[in-house]
Amino acid sequence: MTTLTVSGQVSAPVARTHAPIGRLLRSELRLVLRRPRTLIALGLLVLVPVLAGIGIALAADGTLEPPPGAEGPGAIAAILSENGLVLPIFVLTISLQMLLPMVGAMWAADALAGESSVGSLRNLLVAPVGRARLLGVKAFGVATAVVIGVGLMTASGVISGLVLLGGNSMITISGTTLSFWPALGRILLTALLVTVQVLAVAAVALAISSVTEHPLIVMAVSLGGIIVFTVLNAIPALSWLHPLLITDSWQAMIDVMRDPIPTDALVEGVLRAGCYLAIGGSLALARMLTRDG
């Protein structure tokens, strides 16, 4: 190996043209999970259900007096008290509106734009890691981080709910009571649906990430997009536009708390997220194949 002089390449054995994919995925995961930002974000996602649980527990105790006539924390506390398994669903649904998409976009921003801004993307391209392959590896890293993030938040929500609010069953919005295991099923279903939605946002963010080398632009565009979508979604005159907005699905997420579950809106939400995933993925791929490294 030390004297790699030129020999006839026709007769030369076929040299490996790319590193084993498992090695690349491990390396990517190692990078994502060692990045201080990732760890802080994951810590935050664990902390949110705990803080929400503490707040609601205090409100239910009457320690925090809700303002008269307000349907704020007091009302939610009324539902949640002694109904702790609702906490993860409550927290996931609320976080889906802004926190989780933001974290997903951040990971997508770091994946390509961040790597490009420190110049390390070049090292991978020259190695070489094929461009489509590189995008696949990056998408895997982002997706894994999202799954871990939602998973941790769910686990933290279940534990905080049980410990801080008590109860081992779930009272649904429809008024029925689910025992522990079916309730846990609902929680996992929520986590799954939320993951799909966050992945859809992350896919679009990854497409933006492939265009720029400034991670901040990815964050700004993603968050700006979500805010604009939310505003558009709140304008009834634009109802014709609403089926196109991913945020439209997020309002329907609370359906998992009904019994039986009305599936129409949830299925539609998954399909819509699928479209966003496909569009984001193909835009990112198209850009990766042509971008200057």
């Binding site: 790699l4 110049g119 090292n123 020259v126 070489p128 490294g293």
Partner: protein, 349 residues
């Protein structure tokens, strides 16, 4: 086209010395390379040849297109027009076959600040196709050792000095034995000792038969380490060839120290060799003859010759002449057809 034949002759000169005739006499070759960013022409008409086994120094002022050319050579950037051949493979189709054997340090080192030097290299190593998974740890350790970073290997990259960062970039380029190594300004930020080490690394690569492309704005560095030179100016190659040939071509003269100047000049003029008297002796023009002929002629005529030396322009002088030449190209006129030259008019469109 004289320029093409000039290139081929230079290439053959190198391969003839090789033990086995290689099917691809150049490590990299570009033809008609052009890159336009929005409305700026970064690189135009670049016909660059990197002879196999050579150490090619790429010279040029800032903004002359060195880095853009290198990025196109490595398939990082898609040319607007023109072709790139790397280790016998056309880019971009052949990138996967050619790039594993190419090590590169381009546009400065690019690493994650929150990872240690070793972690960063492990990440590069994981992406190297030719590195077996079991050999990664050792390859990284050796690379760190080679660039003198073994002691700082576990420190975060964030805390590295400019020179240490540069060394880490060099280590990444040399993770495995390469056939072709591309170093873009490798001595940036290095102290004199570091610069010497980089020179030693380049010399070792050259001795092992690796082709090296070094871009630099430090002329002395190129003169000290390179066998070949390519000079870029305003996005075009204005001269390329063997370093010695390029220097000779600039001033084709022979300086002869002799007390018998009159006899010498007369003898040479009889043989139709132009010569003129200088304070120490005479200067003989070598456009139509060679140095041995001149010496033989003088000695045969009984002229006492104390010293004979080629009149060589330093690289710096040549570089200045090529890159600060008049628009009309007058300064290039004395470079002969052995070298590939683009008229300056073409450069500055």
């Amino acid at each position: 086209m004289t320029s093409t034949t000039g290139v081929d002759r230079g290439v053959n000169g190198v391969t003839a010395a090789a033990v086995t005739p290689a099917p691809h006499p150049v490590a990299a070759r570009t033809r008609g390379l052009r890159k336009v960013y929005r409305s700026t022409v970064a690189v135009d008409h670049v016909d660059l040849d990197v002879p196999l086994g050579s150490v090619l120094g790429m010279l040029g002022p800032n903004g002359s297109g060195k880095t853009t050319t290198i990025r196109m050579l490595l398939g990082l950037v898609t040319p607007t027009a023109g072709t790139v051949e790397l280790l016998g493979h056309r880019l971009p189709e052949g990138a996967a076959r050619a790039l594993p054997e190419v090590g590169a340090l381009v546009e400065g080192p690019g690493f994650h600040p929150f990872l240690s030097g070793r972690e960063n290299l492990l990440r590069c190593a994981a992406a190297e196709p030719l590195l077996a998974t079991g050999g990664i740890g050792r390859a990284v350790g050796e690379a760190l050792e080679r660039v003198g970073l073994a002691d700082a290997a576990n420190r975060r990259y964030r805390g590295y000095s400019l020179g240490m960062k540069q060394r880490l970039g060099l280590a990444a380029a040399l993770l495995i034995p390469r056939r072709f190594v591309v170093l873009d300004e490798p001595t940036n930020g290095l102290d004199p000792a570091g610069t010497r080490e980089v020179r030693a690394v380049i010399a070792a690569l050259h001795a092992a038969g690796t082709t090296v492309l070094v871009s630099s704005h430090l002329l002395s560095e190129v003169e000290a380490t390179c066998t070949h030179v390519a000079v870029l100016h305003r996005g075009s190659v204005v001269a390329q060839g063997e370093l010695g040939e390029l220097l000779d071509a600039g001033d084709n003269g022979l300086l002869v120290s002799t007390p018998d100047t009159t006899v010498a000049v007369d003898t040479l003029r009889d043989k139709r060799i132009p010569a003129r008297v200088t304070p120490d002796g005479l200067r003989v023009d070598l456009t139509t003859t060679t140095a041995p002929d001149v010496v033989a002629t003088l000695v045969a005529a009984g002229v006492a010759v104390h010293e004979v030396r080629r009149q060589r322009a330093g690289l710096e002088e040549l570089f200045t002449r090529l890159t600060e030449a008049d628009q009309n190209g007058a300064a290039l006129s004395d470079l002969d057809g052995r070298l590939q030259l683009s008229p300056v008019e073409e450069v500055s469109r």
